[in-house]
Symmetry: D2
Subunit: 318 residues, 4 copies
């Protein structure tokens, strides 16, 4: 193992930079050459390579987004693109590759592994929908941003005695919605994993209204329903008036939280360690508080279940 390359891919999440920094610092410390690939798989096919020294990753620890940039790449999804990627990595004498990203990015990583490239994956996505890690890089920062925004909206909701529907990210996974509902003391969370009953939601609003609680916050994961749909259905149900806020791209990031900085540093360090020890086709993850390796085959084949402990908590507190 002499030259290690790394790339970030897919939607960005806060802490990717902290992870890049840890990988480069630890890699250099171990005596490897560290090569950054810009724009994910797209940059790989374009040979958009860059030598990374310690100075390159200086001052990025807290910065949101990714200095390596990210991009979609349709070409890499084809056999031809993948063969080309392997050839380029071989020509560039890359001995090992680290892929930081979400589900799609890790799928790509596993393809390369199966074609003979040494690859380790690092889970980074705000959705927290990757099996094999309790928390992906970026989730904690996003949660704090979301909950901070809900706290703001609650001030308005209380002042105007209104019900608000707040739509958060999460296509297949209700983690952000559920955790932010618990952390903000919201009245309900609608998530993709559990079918919801609009009439029960209406009953809840009505019961609160009857008991003198004049404001309510409902969190909706984008994968469960659009906030507009819920608004319309509540209106049709019994004339319930609600306000809407869709917390768009703003959820992705900015200033990285301490949890994400440390998680990203630990995972990054372990990813280099894995490659140095001959591992491949694995992801590093936070498993019951420890950093562990888990095969990418397993990660990609298993649906991450919703944390039932959060669910039980939500049933009492939300």
């Amino acid at each position: 193992m002499k030259r290690i390359a790394l790339l970030t891919s897919g939607g960005d999440s806060s802490g990717m930079n902290a992870c890049v920094r840890a990988i480069v610092r630890f890699g250099l410390h171990e005596g490897f050459e560290m090569i950054g690939i810009k724009r994910g798989y797209s940059g790989l096919l374009d040979r958009d390579f860059i030598n990374m020294d310690s100075k390159f990753v200086s001052g990025i620890l807290q910065k949101g987004g990714t200095i390596l940039l990210s991009a979609r790449c349709e070409e890499f999804k084809t056999d031809k693109g993948q063969e080309e990627a392997v050839r380029i990595l071989e020509e560039e004498k890359i001995d090992g590759l680290i892929v930081i990203g979400g589900d799609g990015s890790l799928t790509g990583a596993n393809v390369l592994h199966n074609m003979g490239i040494k690859v380790i994956g690092v889970p980074a996505t705000i959705d927290n929908d990757i099996y094999g890690t309790d928390m992906a890089i970026g989730v904690d920062t996003s949660l704090n941003i979301i909950v901070n925004a809900i706290d703001c909206i609650k001030d308005t909701a209380s002042s105007h005695e209104r019900a608000f529907i707040i739509e958060v990210m999460g296509r297949n996974c209700g983690y952000l919605a559920l955790a932010s509902a618990i952390a903000s003391g919201a009245e309900a969370a609608l998530i993709p994993e559990i079918p919801f009953d609009i009439e029960k939601l209406g009953d809840l609003l009505y019961a609160r209204y009857k008991s003198g609680k004049t404001n309510s916050i409902i969190i909706v994961a984008e994968g469960a329903a659009s906030a507009y749909t819920i608004q319309r259905k509540l209106k049709n149900l019994a004339g319930y008036e609600t306000r809407i806020t869709v917390l768009g791209h703003y959820q992705r990031g900015g200033y990285t939280s301490v949890f994400d900085r440390i998680l990203a540093s630990r995972l990054g360090r372990m990813a280099v360690d894995g490659l140095a020890n001959g591992r491949s086709g694995e992801m590093v993850g936070l498993w019951d508080g420890k950093i562990e390796f888990i095969s990418l085959d397993k990660v990609l084949a298993t649906k991450k279940l919703l944390d039932y402990r959060l669910l039980k908590l939500a049933k009492v507190l939300v």
Copy 2:
């Protein structure tokens, strides 16, 4: 002057509570009875009055929203409602009234003044569209929230090399859009006061792209256009792809900034002072750095012009 009542009305803005606190503290200090009216003009008609002591306003200095609550009131817009309001204020022996709110709220305040009630208005709205004050209560806090969100989105925009359209509040007034564009280093701001040319916007994006700047931020005031409209037009123009974030109610509030806490305290104190000195039909405002009185007639009759100095600044920096 023995009994002073106060109410907050219209959309809430951060700093209303700091203002309520200053009014109550200073009023009590001067020996007045201080009466809170809940839910604005609606609560006035419902005689939703409450005696406010020093303890009542303890711990609210930094809190967003308004502890006096706010509500719409169609009834107060009618002659009958207004006469009823005057009768109630007289029956409750209110010697003076302070109204904290935006344009509509101050219009109501002036109506009561013209019907013989002693009234002073305090400008509070995030739109900053009230003539007679450089800054209304809440503007600074909202701007910081908006700019903070844009800073987050810029991280994503840079990482993905994309253009983002961010819609901010401001129905008739581009202040929030213009000031946040300057403060965030956005590439363009579309505001209601100045007609925009979608082709010039397209040219700007194209010129940036050609010069290697792959990300752009465009701020749109809701009164200028919907972010969705701009997105569609840019798409139709030359296939420009953009992402959208609509910063909804989240802009209104939360944790009050120091500027708003001090402005609200100064305006609140002066409002009590005004009533104590027999003034009525006036608004207290921040005029060239000083707290001044200005007649509500003038305030309501004059359209606040956009600060041309900001505009000149934007032309160079944005």
Copy 3:
């Protein structure tokens, strides 16, 4: 189990309120009467009891400090005081007690358990020095405050090309110092667990200076040394000039982070659950990502070791 009492004791940490809220909400949900004891063991001896309903804990989820207040109590450390406490708890027909606090508070809890009272402890302290829980309530919030402050100071340090010594809390435990050094990219962390060599520290500063890195950040846990001592020693060593910031009580708190809100909610819920199931003399803790019970005897008899994984990380990154 009919009446459950709860108290907070010792130094406050952010998330205590979230925990109080969860305990009360879940307790009421399970059909218990919930009794708050003000000012910790001191209030217990003063019978400073209060019935807590759902409204009592409304709006406190994100608030720093503790609405139940905290105080020192010398009297409770005596046999007489402890016997009195037991008598009062019996007279007040308290069937179970939940104690939220740090080492000293949990010691008191175990004493009461050994005297026949049903007691469950919940770890809350910013020092993170309690065996049996990966993270105590308040640690994550404090870390984010500390790291945020260090990020600020780094701006100044870079601009003036100076070395800064920053003293953080931690009498026996270097966790805050170590974790904040990793998360802020500091150059060194001095902690009570590991003897430090002032000459090596001097060498490090010198080596950085020689390589053109003109600013440095050194974190010192108060238990390792005073920042002033380090400053003087570096001065004496070779004339090194450093600046100092002591991050005092400000580290304790404020606005609770999402991690602490959820951890506090989970621990609080489980504490009620434990009492309801007849448990006593145990603490609820976060053990490898799960909420577990552990005997107070074990908690109090075992010194929490520094996380060697953080240490290894620090050796590379710091």
Copy 4:
């Protein structure tokens, strides 16, 4: 006017970078060559010059500190140093110089002006002690940081029912102490401009204690007294126990507030404008809400008085 140089000097304040950015962007826009001088007057004597293009100031708008760095320079205080500086500026064909900093920096600027160099000063210091500008660059950001920290400490103070003394910056000027006391609802502010009476402070604490208010916050400007002195005196007076926090360098900065970003941009733009129009020996300042020029002679000869309106406000609210 062809080549404009700029430097930052003295203690850094947040917004210096926003000002540097505005100067460079506007200068380039007007067709000037823009030269950055590193490390203030020290770098001037070392000819530490750098050509600044638009890219150089990209991404610094919100960053605390100063990318141009700052340093002390004893040599520049001598006649020989000043003559050398003039010779260097002439040799480097600098047609105009912009100096961003506090009192000492502006004194240097005026010296150069009197020796024939075209110079404009921009006030930047967190102390807000410069005559001729309502607010210097950095004051608003510092105030928000200070008040945020006090809000945190208040949570602890309430929970433990204690009095806290918080020391803030301000050697000759009580602005930060006074404004932060108003904005945080502190109980007292001790400032250099007004002699304080320790017995009256004791009486205030005692009166609060008697009326059941068990926590207090006292703000001390470093120029009025050290927090330790006040603590000792209160102890000696009648055994009052207080806690102390000294908010050191952390006050200087970090993430720039919107107010400072816009103020810095306006002042920076106007400074270039001034040089372009042949002005020299003047400072740009915020005077009654407008950007104005004022002679450096006047600025340096006049002591900035404390804002009596804040003082009146403090008398009622603090």
